[in-house]
Symmetry: C2
Subunit: 313 residues, 2 copies
Amino acid sequence: MQQKNVLITGGAGFLGSHLCEKILETGGEVAVLDSMDSGRMSNLQHIQERIHIFSGDMADEHLVQTAGKGRNIVVHLAIPIAVRQQKFTLHHLETATKGFFNILNLCLKEKALLIHISSVAVYGNPKYTPVDEEHPLEPETMYGAVKLAEEYYCRTLHKTSGLKYVILRVSDIYGPRNTPLSTPILFLRNAMENRPLTVFGQGTQGRTYTYVSDFVEAVLLAMENETAQGCTMNISSREFVSMLELAETVNLVMGGTCQVIHDPTVPADLRKLDIEIKKARSILGFAPKVGLAEGLRKTYAWMKNNLAHYSMR
Amino acid sequence: MQQKNVLITGGAGFLGSHLCEKILETGGEVAVLDSMDSGRMSNLQHIQERIHIFSGDMADEHLVQTAGKGRNIVVHLAIPIAVRQQKFTLHHLETATKGFFNILNLCLKEKALLIHISSVAVYGNPKYTPVDEEHPLEPETMYGAVKLAEEYYCRTLHKTSGLKYVILRVSDIYGPRNTPLSTPILFLRNAMENRPLTVFGQGTQGRTYTYVSDFVEAVLLAMENETAQGCTMNISSREFVSMLELAETVNLVMGGTCQVIHDPTVPADLRKLDIEIKKARSILGFAPKVGLAEGLRKTYAWMKNNLAHYSMR
């Protein structure tokens, strides 16, 4: 296989920064394009001499062409934080769409492989579990709808113009440098400050939380495995964790002194988002390695030494 | 039901102008928003004193808000002609997306019902026929992908923000004022000028061609029938017509003097796009009335008196 020369959009964010490290480790070249709206230079500080950083918006066609010139792989992680947080306006969706079309054009021009990071949000409320790739696509959020629209643009441009792509539908990922809004991080922070861990209702709702190094592994496999091209695959751990189990595991990792309380006044989100990954196992040989307790321990270790990460803004 | 006060995007086009006439007939109020890129003032000349015409781009948010103020229904027909003809650039897709977001915002603000005209192009190559609404969604063209993305934005905004919508997936529609690129029009024009009618290969590929008044009927039913809200339905005739049958019927309508020739050098498009409409029958009471020979006769009668329509540009 050719030497990797990768552009990562949103490369200064949580996922992007881990991906940069790994690509460097494997001897690849890395460029980051990030608006720095939610990405942070501090996430890349330890590797900044070894990567090319382009600060600016994906909606800037010239910048995208410049940052992407000569790359053979583009990993598309960027999405306006407002869209992810459901606080989008028309303008955010426009920017996301325009930026995405710039990325598509770049990949066609450079004949680069697009690794498009989609989300299990494209499925909406599970009609059955575990949710495989054949599950109906009925997003409940505009974030999910935008990701789904982007998937269709990839697949169609593959047919009409030969776009090379892999689509990875990722589940809830956690780890060092994660944003404070993720539930594992929220629980860890509360436990670090000896506040109780609050679960809604019975706490039976849950997720297949995925440790960041397993996600990174999947992206690397997708880059290196030609049979993955043109495929759409779920990427997740296979460890379904209820909210109550998450709270109890955080407690265990932290020494078991926190109170776990049930808040009956908040209506429980009863979804069990249990994600199937047989397809990624079969096509990529993907096998998630880091279990919940281990992942939380690693995340906690990082958080202890990086308290500033959560007070910076 | 409330008095209809309808904004039609792309209202100066083929479909839009027929829809304007019908809404006026039923006592409704009509405004047209059209960029006039492919729409024509001549299509509306006979009713221009009775409608409000706004010339300009959907991507102009202020114009959309102005044209749509106080309307209780929006019919979204507009799509850049370049996207329909597969000659799109990034800029066309951006304009289409931005315009569509403006329409969505308008409908939310005015609490207007959005009748979104989608296309059977969202299905891609038929995996089975007749193609019903449960058929897999795998568009082969960016036109189909854009329409599908728009569908998902409608459905998701319904869930997140209460958008009222009906989605109609329309099949090949023909009739007076049609563009010259439609196959029935192409055949009629050739027959009028005594040129042979060329079918590709055996001519077994085909469509369920739909006469424009049946399409208009479906849109009116969708406006008037509250149970249609939140539904996605195919709209088509149920008369599957092969390319060869189309040529022969055109010949019959025109007096039977034209030669029908087979062109073996052009690879045959073997698709049989036979569209199921049980859902629209059941929800809307939709029943297409105009058969192919009658529709072609009406179209021919109009073309004879409007030769300028096809030489104007």
